[in-house]
């Protein structure tokens, strides 16, 4: 059997004396989606940050595509995360940001891919806007467009439905289903159970993952 795309064992992560995650284990098989739900402060974002290699665990192990997540570019060629929001380059329009991302990943038809992503995420008409001048919902769409427009094998998304209207939530849920159908693996955190169900992901919680 294939090794899971994401494999977390006995994870302990804390920011002070009390651990936020204590003994958490999780497996996300390749070509599947898992959504972690839970209230504020449950540790969802901490889990995603640790799986992304942005937070060092106190104990336990994390493997993403068979390797420890790190800061090397090779890792990030296969993994996309929106756990930390990106900054926007001054002087580059929204559409040019998408082209920049695709060209950086060696795609020759970057312009066409950017156009497709913009249409899919309902950003048509905002191609020439500077990202900083977009509304918060549009910025969230643009962040997701950046994530979908580039090639990857694993998506790690923290509350991708945040600041999106109901139509856009359905749209993003559909895109995540398509991503998984295409062989990709998704780990996401969400507050919205309806959205989580719409992605076709296995829904779980931090409490369940930490066990008894």
């Amino acid at each position: 059997m294939d090794q899971p795309a994401i494999e977390v064992r006995d994870l302990v992560v804390g920011y002070g004396s009390a651990p936020v995650l204590d003994g958490l284990s999780l497996e996300v098989p390749r070509g599947t989606a898992t959504c972690v739900i839970g209230e504020n402060g449950a540790g969802k974002s901490t889990l995603l940050r640790t799986v992304s290699g942005l937070q060092r665990p106190e104990a336990g192990s994390v493997l993403v595509l068979g390797r420890e997540p790190g800061t090397d570019a090779e890792h990030w060629r296969q993994v996309v995360t929106t756990v930390e929001p990106p900054s926007w380059y001054p002087g580059l329009t929204a559409r040019e940001h998408a082209e920049l991302v695709t060209r950086a990943h060696g795609l020759d038809d970057g312009d066409a891919a950017a156009e497709r992503a913009f249409e899919l995420l309902g950003l048509a008409g905002h191609e020439d806007s500077m990202p900083t001048s977009l509304s918060s919902g549009q910025k969230q769409r643009l962040t997701l467009a950046m994530a979908f427009v580039r090639p990857s094998r694993v998506l790690i998304l923290d509350e991708p439905e945040q600041r999106l209207d109901p139509d856009a939530r359905s749209l993003v849920a559909g895109l995540l289903r398509d991503y998984v159908a295409g062989g990709g693996t998704v780990l996401l955190a969400s507050h919205d159970e309806k959205f989580a169900a719409g992605t076709g992901a296995l829904v779980t919680s931090v409490a369940e993952l930490c066990g008894p």
Partner: protein, 499 residues
């Protein structure tokens, strides 16, 4: 609906603020500010004295026209950056949305800006008179030029308040201001570099008297007209000015100049309309992005081209100052596109692009190298042609200096926030904050280190040979490669890991 009287509200706010204010601390701040101003004036007294009261007049008619043009243009542009109508962030949040008189709300800041502008205008008038009038300068001439400067400044403030709500007028006025600064500076450079002329050709008392009367009449009519229309200033304009002023205050209080750079970039890019276009294909994508950025900064490029003349204005003064001006100018030119490097420093960005820190920095260096080289080559060529430097291939030395300017500009852009938490150093003059001091030299250290041959050759006025050019090329080129290799990882994406 009847407007609520603003004065009692403001009085109540001030009383509450005063109740929470530590009087000792406020006095301490005032004392510190006065001491700092005195120290700065003391430190730079030779320069301050040369500007405001040289021993003998230094300019003729071109200076008499040039200095006021530069000062008026610069004041207008500064006022437009400020607002000029600006209210505090709390006032923007709570009073702008309250049913208080908008004119009363804006009247106080308008009067304050007009008073500050008048003081600056009077100082500029005094400096102009001292530069161009024969000694002993009649007191009436000094008073009249000060009055003319102050009245012009008040007119500019009035114009600024109207331009703040009329984008078309603002664009036109800004263009005129840019032209005024350029024409004034060009006049002064021509006078400095041209054949000597008899100084002391300032305007007489009679014409000045008429000019002041005309300006006074214009102020009475136009400033009153603008003041009565303050309430027409739209809320969004005031909110933007209030946010900008808040950012400036944050930057000053926390000692973080990067806040101002971000504000300036944000304003520039959101104040214009752009059309997406495919990025150039024959270069690495991050360099292609910098080229796109360059194409969208044509006005700045024009300024940089004009600024190649600036070192010529210093050719009669200290040679060290001349050499420093060339190096700094090249670094400023090389900094044109480095805002991209500041964004690269956000780890999420290079992770999304899956680009290593070294790939990013190398790609980001190409445009700064080209700009720094071209600027320094042009500036040194002009200095050579004007006779400020002995014979030699100075343009080639400028080209060789470019990599040093690029390394300095990129290193400074990667600096990030000033570290205010570092341990202070105790000195006989008091404790010295290490973080801001280190931040002041970041980038400039590489400029001096890699630009040593140019610095020495220009400062000493030594003859220039091709072997000197070769040394400069080797030091700057080798230094740039060493900087790129030692300050970045070849496999990791994090740009912040090393300086």
């Amino acid at each position: 609906m009847t407007a609520v009287a603003l004065a009692p509200v403001r009085h109540w706010i001030r009383r509450r603020q005063a109740a929470h204010l530590d009087a000792g601390s406020a006095l301490g701040n005032l004392y510190f500010a006065a001491l700092l101003a005195a120290v700065l004036v003391g430190m730079f007294w030779p320069t301050v004295g040369a500007v405001f009261w040289p021993a003998a007049p230094t300019g003729t008619r071109l200076t008499a026209v040039g200095v006021p043009l530069v000062c008026a243009g610069a004041l207008h542009l500064a006022l437009r950056q400020l607002g000029p109508l600006v209210i505090s962030r709390p006032a923007a949040s709570w009073l702008l949305t309250a049913p208080v008189s908008r004119r009363a709300l804006l009247g106080a800041p308008a009067r304050a800006v007009a008073a500050a502008g008048a003081a600056a205008g009077a100082a500029a008038g005094f400096a102009t008179a001292s530069q161009v009038t024969a000694r002993p300068t009649p007191a009436a001439v000094l008073l009249l030029t000060c009055a003319a400067g102050a009245l012009t400044a008040v007119l500019l403030v009035a114009l600024g308040t109207v331009a703040q709500r009329r984008p078309g007028l603002a664009r036109g006025a800004d263009l005129v201001a840019y032209l005024a600064v350029t024409a004034g500076a060009a006049g002064m450079v021509v006078e400095r570099t041209g054949p000597p002329a008899a100084a002391g050709a300032g305007p007489g008392e009679g014409p000045l008297r008429y000019a002041v009367l005309a300006l006074l009449a214009a102020v009475l009519v136009l400033a009153t007209w603008a003041y009565r229309r303050l309430d027409r200033t739209p809320a969004d304009v005031l909110l933007a000015a209030s946010r900008a002023a808040g950012t400036v205050a944050d930057s000053a209080l926390t000692g973080q100049p990067s806040f101002l750079q971000e504000l300036a970039e944000q304003r520039y890019w959101t104040s214009r309309r752009w059309r997406s276009a495919p990025l150039p294909r024959r270069v690495p994508v991050l360099t292609a992005q910098d080229l796109r950025l360059l194409g969208r900064k044509r006005r700045r490029l024009a300024w940089l081209a004009a600024a190649t003349l600036a070192p010529a204005a210093l050719m009669d003064g200290s040679r060290i100052l001349l050499a420093v001006a060339v190096l700094l100018g090249a670094m400023v030119a090389a900094s044109t596109t480095v805002a991209s490097v500041r964004t690269d420093a956000n780890p999420a960005v290079l992770r999304l692009l899956a680009v290593t820190a070294r790939e990013a920095v190398v790609a980001r260096l190409w445009v700064p190298v080209a700009l720094g080289s071209l600027w320094a080559a042009a500036a040194l060529l002009l200095l050579g042609l004007l006779g400020a430097l002995p014979a030699g291939p100075w343009w080639a030395l400028g080209l060789a200096l470019g990599p040093a300017a690029a390394a300095a500009a990129v290193r400074r852009a990667r600096m990030g926030l000033v570290q205010n938490g570092l341990l202070p150093i105790d000195t006989p003059m008091g404790s010295l904050e290490t973080g801001p001091v280190l931040a002041m030299v970041v980038g400039y250290d590489l400029l001096v280190l890699f630009g040593v041959p140019t610095l020495v050759l220009v400062a000493t006025g030594s003859p220039l040979g091709w072997q000197n050019v070769l040394w400069q090329a080797l030091i700057a080129g080798g230094g740039l490669v060493a900087y790129a290799r030692t300050s970045t990882s070849a496999t990791e994406t994090d740009l912040r890991a090393r300086g």
